[in-house]
Amino acid sequence: MNAQPDTVGDIRRPTSTHPLAGRTLTGADIVVQVLADEGLDVLFGYSGGAILPVYDAVFRFNAAHPRDDGSDPMPLIVPANEQGACFMAAGYARASGRVGVALVTSGPGATNAVTPVRDSMADSIPLVVISGQVPTGSIGTDAFQEAPISTIMGSCAKHVFLVTDAASLEATLRTAFHIARSGRPGPVVVDIPKDVQNAPLVFDGGRELPVRGYRSRLRAVEAATIADAECARFFAALGRASRPLIYAGGGVVSAGASEALHDFAHAFGIPVVTTLMGIGGFDTTDPLALDMLGMHGAAYANYAMDDCDFVLALGARFDDRVVGVPAKFAPKARTIAQIDIDPAEIGKVKGADWHHVGTLDVALSRLTAYGRQHGFGPDYSEWLDHVAALKTRHSMNFCRDSETIQPCAVIEAINRITDGRAIISTGVGQHQMWAAQYFDFREPRHWLTSGSMGTMGFGLPAAIGAQFARRDRVVIDIDGDASIRMNIGELETVTTYGLPVKVVVLNNSGDGMVRQWQKLFFKGRFSASDKSLHKKDFVRAAQADGFEWAQRLVDPAAIESTVADFLAFDGPAFLEVVIDPDAGVYPMVGPGATYAEMITGDWIASRSTPVASATEPTGMF
């Protein structure tokens, strides 16, 4: 098929009331005007030949429309590389719920964006990445800084547009934002050849592409309601259950359904476990909260899933890190009910006995209202007593009188001082799991982590983006020594823009999670995961990047005072914590194991005799 943009039947609003409607603008000016119309207050990006016209248009826009205080209305934040820019945009999107935007150049600029685009796809994060492309006539000639972005990104993004017809540029851009934020959100890439950026075009102010298949499916999902008969069937099954459990995923956060979830859970007294991505979707300090389940979930969350007889999955996708062995997940559940906005998630891993495809907050509010109207008042007190006992008996814990610093003690200290109200971003690995386990999250969009892709290096740029989205919040990057290395260039970005981001590096001299697996499954052969010979001085590195407050913490007795001092600093601050290199993440459900085989470690009570762990490498990952 020829690359032919979709211009037929453009939806034109009857009369665009845009003040610039009918004006002739360049493609680049149109890009910037659409970004302004979308309400963007910050952009992230790295320049280069093929995107220069857009960069120039941003400069001119900012010069022509200064804010009252003289600052730029649409500052363009420059990272160390494009992966950083796109993770900043993703951090902005995750913390705010709005679409994050990154502007990158062609070729290497755009290929550096691949990882964050895939990461955002896997975690359903709305992003628009605008990439410059070589001029239309040069596409396919192996031109300087040319890469086949529509092909590459086509496999990783929610959608990608290659704008070969300049006349469709404005409609394409507006449609990109619509696609990124609607339905199950995701990243959209718009690849714009340089000649299209320079083309003189008539600005309309409202054009969008028809994308009729997408729009009709979206309308169906958004209009979907749960019929009375389906509500009745749902409550009949729930009425037969005596041990119901809500399994809440990232969909609760992206749908803005945490209030609806709170109301539903409390209306009928049903406890809630969350996935890694669902953290913050349900207040962890709520009495019904059973916290995170899964491979490194709380023992009580996993035991509750093992014991329950009814699972209500909300915007959760039964990921392998949660489910382990699908046939043995929730083994006593007689009913699995599932609500998701994505029809492809229904029954993908576990068959659903009852399901609804639609928007989560609407669906939950409908069920709550129906249950109340029909006097649904079950008595789950025995079950609630049971899970309360699980929570007490199998509570999270670690060695509290260690001579080396235990990472969880540091996290507990930060949590205490910030009252569990900070925005937390993480890298990937042990520190990520400790943060997920030991922080409180009272609200959604305070927990920013690369869940599905597991991208090391996510934490620092995501924190930067989040700080731009939420100037009013303390933003803390909880990182590992290996993860932060991956995007350590962004330390300088923190100080360049004077962001009060707090960076914590839990340094265990290596890839701790890899070592943990090597201990368990590879007889302790630490192939390429030990970094104790590395010479990097993180504190001096941070100082070199302009951090005035940069300290190393080694004494367990100084945790509280140092952390307090660190968090109180008014500006960028960097804290390296030298932690016990042998600290492990527990509980752990090994890959391919069931919850019954969960290893709880030395400090968390297990309810079964520990099962001998596999000592041979397995095919599971």
């Binding site: 032919q4 039947g9 496999s155 547009f161 492809a344």
Partner: protein
């Protein structure tokens, strides 16, 4: 099991690659694929045949229906439908035997030079297999090309 999937696809850069990629990433070979214009200049009809586990193919179809470029998608396997494939072949063999074969199958002669006959035939995929077998028996099958399946759903018509 054999799955016959029909899609209406927006003409856009990479649309076909995205659909093919969903099947390829699960390790399924696409058995046949036809793409051609429709009356709408912004859309193409795509017909795809793939062999695979029912549940997995159903999941891929669900994933395909999420692609922004996909306007409509239907699995025709379990529905009433008509499907046809075109065969163009060159046979080197006794012309009277070839003519007899053409008559028996209802195939057409397009060109003849000496003992070389170029013929065309349309039918279901299994009928194409049959005529190819028969051609082997009447002469040497020098060259041939199959178009892949084109199919439309057969609406249920009240008698």
């Amino acid at each position: 099991m054999r799955h016959l999937i029909s899609m209406l696809l927006q003409n856009e850069a990479g649309a076909l690659a995205r659909v093919a990629g969903l099947f390829a990433s699960r390790g399924y070979n696409i058995e046949s694929l036809t793409v051609a214009a429709t009356l709408h200049e912004d859309a193409s009809r795509l017909t795809l045949v793939v062999f695979g586990d029912d549940a997995v193919v159903e999941q891929i179809v669900k994933q395909s229906s999420k692609l922004v470029d996909v306007i409509e998608i239907a699995e025709l396997t379990g529905r009433e439908h008509v499907e046809r494939e075109l065969l163009v072949a060159r046979i080197d063999g006794d012309v009277s035997a070839v003519d007899a074969l053409l008559a028996r199958f209802g195939a057409r002669l397009l060109q003849r030079q000496g003992s070389h006959s170029v013929v065309e035939y349309t039918g279901r995929a299994d009928e194409i297999d049959l005529i190819l077998d028969a051609m082997h028996r009447v002469g040497e099958l020098v060259d041939h090309a199959r178009s892949g399946i084109a199919a439309i759903e057969q609406p249920l018509v009240a008698a």
